[in-house]
């Protein structure tokens, strides 16, 4: 049954991808991208990779769709006719695809318990992590503790992204006060969003702090919290959103999240362990691991939230400016 579901989902994925290639209306393309991400999230669920599915749904289908829509507001919704020849790119794509298929010919049998991925490093994670790290969610154990350095790196990648966006666009405050921003006249939207926003923030906090026990963690929580504020900005307009959290403050927040994460590492060095060795954070190693993971996840959440919202601000303020002109 699971295989049948996989086949159906993969077929839908391929159809979506093909449609994306041939569509000229970029608005529809963005919507299809969202569908594509949801379909991949479903496939991940089917593979029992709920954490990955959660991330894909919140980041791939959620926030990226919003950011791409704001980009369309700045640029335009029709694809320009390409003047380049398509033969060489097609050739490169075909060769790459053929190489990938060739590579899978010797692939270990799908899902077999004797596969190298299940035999080498993974058994230790599965058998020892409840004792060594003490968390029921092994994905969080690997992500935040065994490979915590990677996660610090990923947080810095997110931080680098906002540096890039700010240097290209910058967040500009609109000077005109009488400018109609947001959707103030839509009363229904107003009321509904006022009910939804606190719930979304509450859910984000739940995802943030429940990541040790179930799917979730800083990345997803940060994105969900950012979504709540983006909704607020969309409905009430950017100036009002700026009054709640300003762009400059978000810059500091993004930096503070990275620093919070790194400071855990520095503290563990001060305590005599290696960088990011959470065992040294408390007298009891398991408690130390728990403290460490909670703090670094918080750092991730803060950075991701601040970066996503700031990128939205940067795009949104540009789009508003281009609308005025």
């Amino acid at each position: 049954m699971a295989e049948f579901i996989d086949l159906v989902l993969l077929a839908m994925l391929a159809l979506t991808a093909l449609r994306i290639i041939f569509l000229k209306d970029l608005f529809a393309v963005v919507m299809l991208f969202g569908i594509y991400s949801f379909l991949s999230a479903l496939i991940f669920v089917n593979l029992d990779a709920v954490d990955v599915a959660f991330t894909e749904a919140s980041v791939g289908a959620g926030i990226s769709t919003v950011l791409m829509l704001v980009t369309l507001a700045m640029t335009g919704r029709k694809e320009k006719q390409s003047t380049h020849s398509t033969i060489l790119p097609l050739f490169v794509v075909l060769v790459t695809g053929a190489a990938l298929i060739y590579g899978t010919l010797d692939m270990p049998p799908f899902g077999h318990p004797d596969n190298p991925v299940h035999q080498h490093v993974a058994p230790r994670y599965i058998e020892e992590s409840p004792k060594e790290v003490g968390l029921p969610n092994m994905v969080t154990s690997v992500l935040a503790s065994y490979r915590g350095f990677d996660t610090l790196g990923e947080t810095v990648v997110v931080f680098s992204a906002v540096i890039g966006v700010l240097s290209l666009l910058g967040v500009r405050r609109t000077k005109k006060k009488d400018l109609e921003s947001g959707l103030e006249t839509h009363k229904v939207l107003h009321v509904v969003s006022k009910i939804i926003i606190p719930l979304v923030i509450l859910f984000a906090l739940y995802v943030q702090f429940h990541g040790d026990f179930g799917p979730g963690g800083g990345f997803q929580a940060g994105v969900i919290a950012a979504a709540a504020f983006i909704l607020y900005a969309l409905v009430l307009g950017l100036p009002k959103a700026f009054a709640v959290v300003g762009p400059k403050f978000l810059q500091w927040m993004a930096a503070a999240g990275v620093l919070l994460y790194a400071s855990v590492g520095l503290y563990s060095m001060y305590k005599g362990g290696n960088f990011l060795d959470y065992n040294t954070l408390a007298a009891d190693p398991i408690a130390g691991q728990h403290y460490g993971i909670i703090i670094i996840e918080l750092g991730v959440g803060i950075t991701v939230f601040a970066v996503m919202l700031n990128i939205f601000y940067a795009f949104g303020s540009q789009a508003e400016r281009s609308n005025i002109q």
Binding site: A99, L100, Y102, G103, T104, L105, D106, M107, P108, N115, P116, V117, H118, Q119, H120, V121, A122, R124, Y125, S145, Y146, R147, G148, F149, D150, L152, G153, E154, V156, V157, F159, S160, A161, I163, G164, L166, S167, L168, G170, Q251, W252, A254, A255, A256, V258, L259, A262, G265, L266, M269, Y270, G273, N274, F275, L276, D277, Y278, N279, T280
Partner: protein, 511 residues
């Protein structure tokens, strides 16, 4: 305490300094802070190199988890040597950039510039030090995102197209590397490089492993701008701010060359890559074409930054040529050239940036008559240019010397001759600029402008590199010792790993 963490500090220091530089906000403050952080990273990597030369290999388990379960940082002579060059250039460029970016980057973006520079440095150090294939990808992403940002910071609008092109190509390269690492993981179940090396041997002829090798090689080749995947490089180097070009030209592509060396010699093994897959001949052919095609392209450009950018692609050809010879001397020549080329290109691009600062253009015509007006800058350009050509008593001569020796060791007269002929092109493209600077008169229209020598803050880092070019051309003990032990070490680990396979099968090296 510092002793124990020496391995991790060159990554952690700029990584933590970057967000702080953003918070500081003010241009001068973040400049001073960034320079301090980079300078400290340089001191640590100096100590790291001497430790690596005496102890061989230093391993550091991040988070206290032993490899392959946790992430290992692993320093040996090879990466410590490149790290030294990267941190040194970064520090010098930061000193130089204070005045240089005043002219080329909007004032509001100055703290973003220093933050991005530190992020790039952290990424490059991470790529060099890490002993974990996936961790390498993460740091590659950090450094790449930071470089796209740095390129796009110029006030010249054309930098945006250049940065976008660089972003598209760079992302394809990074994705290819990720796919390759994924395929390796699928077949071996590990991400640690030493562990991968042991376990890959068991599947030598597997299609999955070979496809992984192909994807990683193509991905890295894009990153290091190997001909014909170099098309992103000339526009990016031409339109980026001068300080950025000086930094990237002397570090980013070199680090990618190191990644290629690491994957070939440590992870996949020489026999697999060169004997079974025949990559040696492919790399050698591409390197030779790169040297000739791009040296020729350099001679016909009118923008001096483009000239030097094409020259960089040609010089990368020399590095790849060295490693494709598959000998200790050849690899040593590559390592020396990575180091020396950083010194030359750093100095050259700094001199060009100085000309832009005063004249406002980097067209070859703008150089006319500058030999008298900016004597120190043009003298620096001349010496670094002679080093690119490979004149004796400069660092460039040492690189070419070892490359030719390596070719002759194998009786490969053709390669030796090609290296020497390639240098003739360098005489042409450097000569054209020197001719304009020293033998042409300052145009009438410009004689009223007040063109004078630049500030000492820009001159000092430039001249430090120029003196280094001469120093390492005369006293080669540091470069040859480090490069030699790096190269011998790479061959040695390769042999140990292969012998291990013959004797004890999949014995864990790490445990």
């Amino acid at each position: 305490m510092l002793e124990q963490h020496l391995t991790a500090l060159p990554i952690i220091l700029p990584l933590i300094a970057a967000p702080i530089a953003l918070i500081l906000g003010r241009s001068v403050l973040s400049w001073g802070f960034a320079t301090l952080a980079s300078g400290l990273a340089f001191l640590f990597s100096w100590q790291l190199l001497s430790a690596a030369l005496s102890e061989g290999v230093i391993s550091y388990a991040v988070g206290g988890w032993a490899p392959p379960w946790g992430i290992e940082l692993r320093v040996d002579a090879a990466n410590a040597f490149v790290l030294l060059a990267v941190t040194a250039i970064s520090t010098l460029v930061l000193v130089y950039s204070k005045d240089s970016i005043e002219k080329e980057v909007k004032a509001a973006n100055h703290s973003l510039f220093y933050t991005a520079h530190l992020l790039c440095l952290a990424g490059l150090s991470g790529i060099l030090i890490t002993g974990d294939a996936f961790n390498l990808f993460v740091f590659l992403e950090i450094s790449s995102l930071a470089t796209y940002t740095l390129v796009s910071l110029a006030s010249d609008r054309r930098c945006l197209t250049a940065a976008f092109r660089y972003l598209v190509m760079g992302t394809i390269g990074a994705t290819f590397i990720l796919i390759g690492v994924g395929l390796l993981y699928m077949k071996t179940g590990t991400l640690n490089m030493m562990d991968l090396a042991v376990r890959i041997d068991a599947y030598d002829s597997s299609r999955t492993i070979n496809t992984g090798l192909a994807f990683i090689m193509v991905g890295v080749s894009i990153k290091l701008a190997l001909f014909p995947l170099h098309m992103w490089l000339p526009p990016a180097y031409t339109h980026a701010p001068s300080a950025v070009t000086a930094f990237l030209a002397s570090t980013a592509t070199k680090v990618a060359v190191y990644v290629m060396i690491r994957f070939i010699f440590t992870v996949f093994g020489i026999d697999h890559v060169f004997v079974d897959m025949g990559m040696g001949l492919i790399l050698m052919a591409l390197a030779v074409v790169a040297i000739f095609k791009c040296s020729y392209m350099a001679t016909v450009q009118s923008n001096v930054k483009t000239v030097l950018a094409y020259s960089s692609v040609a010089q990368i050809g020399y590095m790849i040529l060295g490693l494709s010879l598959v000998s200790v001397t050849g690899l040593m020549a590559s390592m020396i050239h990575i180091f020396n080329h950083a010194l030359m290109k750093g100095a050259l691009f700094m001199a060009v940036g100085a000309v832009f600062y005063r004249v406002g253009s980097v067209d070859i015509k703008a150089f006319a008559g500058l030999g008298r007006k900016m004597p120190l800058t043009m003298a620096a350009f001349t010496i670094a240019g002679l080093s690119i050509i490979g004149v004796p008593l400069t660092a460039g001569f040492v690189s070419k010397w070892y490359l030719v020796t390596a070719a002759l060791e194998q009786g490969n007269w053709t390669v030796a001759a090609l290296v020497l002929i390639g240098s003739l092109f360098a005489i042409v493209y450097i000569g054209r600029i020197l001719e304009a600077a020293y033998f042409q008169k300052l145009p009438e229209s410009r004689s009223s402008e007040n063109i004078k020598e630049i500030s000492w803050l820009m001159l000092v880092p430039m001249w430090v590199l120029v003196i280094a070019n001469i120093y390492f051309g005369v006293d080669t003990s540091l470069t040859t010792e480090a490069a030699n032990s790096a190269s011998e070490w790479l061959f040695q680990t390769n042999n140990i790993l292969e012998n291990n396979m013959v004797e004890g099968n999949s014995q864990e090296v790490s445990s």
